[in-house]
């Protein structure tokens, strides 16, 4: 038994050495063959890194909104159970509704009304066209995880008084004030002068688009009603639960309180919706998994093409080395020796290619890292190595089997 194992190890070792010699003897061809796998592994690892990055970016983007938040709204954001016309016919949620909810709800740690508008914002020659503006109260900041790089959020006084103050997202601030110094200056917002009181810290999540705090401005909701919009405009009530375990309780309470606020009888349906980030997350996860499937399919194809390339070249190699195989068989190589030789040749080429591809992928990953929060995962590295080995074995098998079956008499006669 022991002897068998050691002779098997011997055979594997010598087989690998023979394969390495053969690869070294055909450097040009081996290098070209490797290229297919280099590109394949490069594509697969880079894609998985990028996808991981997109996923993280989405998650970060969503959690920057605050993961324990509820949004009471006239509209259902996702998968509405009610038809859109019914949603449209709902009564607007008014500021009065908000104040009464705030008074009655005991569980939330913070609540704030909010609504949105778009205005072009200017500072001297710098213009941001139709900036996304969140109009809210001073409590809003407590419902989020936002931090400031400079200044502050507007105060309770400013909020209630509808003062002309504005807080800018980092990207907006950079566009209007490329050299900094935003806080204290007045910007033109849709024709009104507004004082910048704070600049938010960069969130860096590009995924959320307009909803990304980086690309927004924040103004007191009373200012909005005085200058830009009717007081009858429907608002969203932002509600923050104390922690994620409490979210469900806060939601139950919100339904009860809102029904009272809206004066609904027991047989009337809710004329409001409680929206959650889970809705956003599940939507995002759907999107991400579609991207993932698509991405892996496409990069998988490139690896597949690489594998076919290897198989093709191994077939050519077997044909070209028919005589060599004949010689080896004549002097005592067994079928499995030849089989092993060609499979390990293909595997070594693939493994080598996989490692090179991995190096490229690491470099690419570093470049991608400038835009996406990502790094190459250890499991991706292990997987890439295993995949390239498996590719070698699978694509090497058919040619190797063909080689092992060659009749030595015919093979020796082959010109």
């Amino acid at each position: 038994m022991n002897k068998k194992v050691s002779s098997l190890l011997f055979e594997i070792k010598e087989g690998l050495i023979i394969s390495l010699r053969a690869i070294a003897a055909n450097k040009g061809r081996s290098a070209l063959t490797t290229l297919g796998i280099v590109i394949g592994i490069w594509a697969v690892v880079t894609m998985s890194t990028a996808l991981k990055g997109i996923d993280i970016a989405f998650q970060n983007g969503v959690s920057s909104l605050g993961s324990d938040n509820l949004y009471i709204d006239k509209w259902a954001w996702f998968n509405p159970d009610t038809p859109w016309w019914e949603l449209r016919n709902r009564r607007n949620i008014s500021m009065d509704d908000y104040y009464r909810y705030k008074e009655l709800a005991k569980l939330p740690i913070a609540t704030a009304p909010s609504t949105f508008t778009r205005k072009t914002v200017k500072f001297r020659d710098n213009i941001v066209e139709s900036m996304f503006i969140t109009a809210t109260t001073s409590d809003y900041i407590k419902t989020t995880n936002l931090d400031f790089s400079d200044g502050r959020f507007f105060t309770d006084m400013e909020s209630k008084g509808g003062r002309n103050v504005i807080v800018l997202g980092s990207a907006i601030a950079e566009q209007l004030f490329p050299f900094g110094g935003a806080v204290g200056n007045y910007v033109d917002v849709g024709g009104r002068k507004m004082k910048v009181v704070g600049v938010l810290q960069k969130q860096g999540s590009w995924v959320m688009g307009d909803f990304n705090p980086d690309n927004q401005g924040y103004i007191p909701i009373e200012f909005l009603f005085k200058n830009f919009a009717s007081r009858r405009k429907s608002i969203t009530i932002n509600v923050r639960a104390p922690n994620s375990q409490m979210v469900e309780a806060v939601k139950e309470e919100a339904i009860g309180v809102m029904r009272r606020v809206r004066g609904l009888t027991y047989n009337e349906k809710n004329d409001f919706s409680i929206n959650q980030q889970e809705g956003i997350l599940s939507q995002i996860n759907k999107t991400v998994s579609v991207i993932q499937i698509g991405g892996f399919f496409i990069t998988g194809l490139s690896l597949f093409v690489g594998a076919i390339g290897i198989m093709n070249i191994m077939f050519v190699s077997v044909k070209e080395r028919t005589r060599e195989i004949g010689i080896r068989k004549a002097i005592g190589a067994k079928k499995r020796t030849i089989l092993g030789q060609f499979i390990s040749e293909a595997s070594i080429i693939c493994l080598f290619g996989g490692l090179i591809g991995l190096v490229f992928a690491v470099i690419t990953g570093m470049i991608i890292n400038q835009w996406l929060p990502t790094s190459i995962q250890f499991d991706a590295v292990v997987l890439a190595i295993l995949i390239s080995l498996a590719t070698g074995i699978i694509s090497g098998f058919a040619p190797a089997y063909q080689a092992s079956k060659l009749d030595p008499v015919d093979a020796l006669r082959y010109e």
Partner: protein, 237 residues
């Protein structure tokens, strides 16, 4: 004298389309240790087929082939590979060396398949190359060697496993007559040191170096006679 090869009534039949081709019809022969036998015959006589069977590259369709009391005609591919590896040393007309490997590696190769450790392999490969006079060419690749030197490497490879027989197929066919003569002298020397040599050739002059000539025609043995006046290269010098 100890018998190595005993062939009894073997035939080799190929199926070509619907037709059966009898490459060997009915052949019986015996070869003893330290024999020097030449197998002769025109093309189509079955000479190559017989050589392939003797060399365990092929098996007979009928009849019994005993190699050192083992029935080769019943063996599978792996067992045949093992017999070829341990007991038969091939020398081919076209040398059949691995073109991209050094002389040393070419000679070492059968020992790898025999499963010997590297130190033993290298020692024996050097020894074999020394025996054929190529101790100073071990690191050369076949294309850096002359035809005669390549054939010497091939002979070293055949010798290195200390086989029971050396089977040479037209070993001088690709060499000029001077070099061919040197090779025949080497075979003579190997024979004198106890090796068993089977020489397949169609050249009468080459066959005359052997002790015995087996002539084939149409798949049958036409004659099997002792050579009365052997050409001995060593004596000519």
């Amino acid at each position: 004298m100890e018998n190595i090869i005993s062939i009894e009534h073997i035939a080799r039949i190929y199926q070509v389309g619907l037709e059966e081709v009898h490459a060997l019809a009915d052949v019986s022969l015996k070869i003893n240790r330290n024999d020097y036998v030449a197998i002769m015959g025109p093309s189509g006589s079955g000479k190559s087929t017989l050589m392939n069977i003797i060399g365990c590259l092929d098996t007979p369709s009928r009849g019994i082939y005993m190699f050192e009391n083992e029935n080769v005609s019943q063996m599978n591919d792996n067992q045949l590979a093992e017999i070829r590896n341990r007991k038969i040393g091939f020398v081919f007309q076209t040398f059949n060396l691995l073109p991209r490997s050094t002389a040393l590696h070419n000679v070492e190769l059968p020992l790898i398949y025999a499963g010997l450790p590297k130190s033993v392999r290298l020692e024996r490969a050097y020894e074999a190359l020394e025996k054929v006079g190529l101790a100073d060419r071990v690191d050369h690749k076949p294309n850096e060697l002359s035809g005669g030197q390549r054939q010497r490497v091939a002979i070293a490879r055949a010798l290195v496993t200390q086989p029971s027989i050396i089977l040479a197929d037209e070993p001088t066919g690709n060499l000029d007559s001077k070099t061919g003569n040197d090779i025949m002298a080497l075979f003579e020397e190997l024979h004198e040191t106890g090796n068993t040599i089977i020489l397949v050739t169609h050249e009468e002059e080459i066959a005359q170096h052997a002790q015995r000539i087996i002539r084939l025609r149409d798949g049958l043995i036409e004659s099997n006679e002792i050579v009365k006046e052997r050409t001995l290269v060593g004596n000519n010098e």
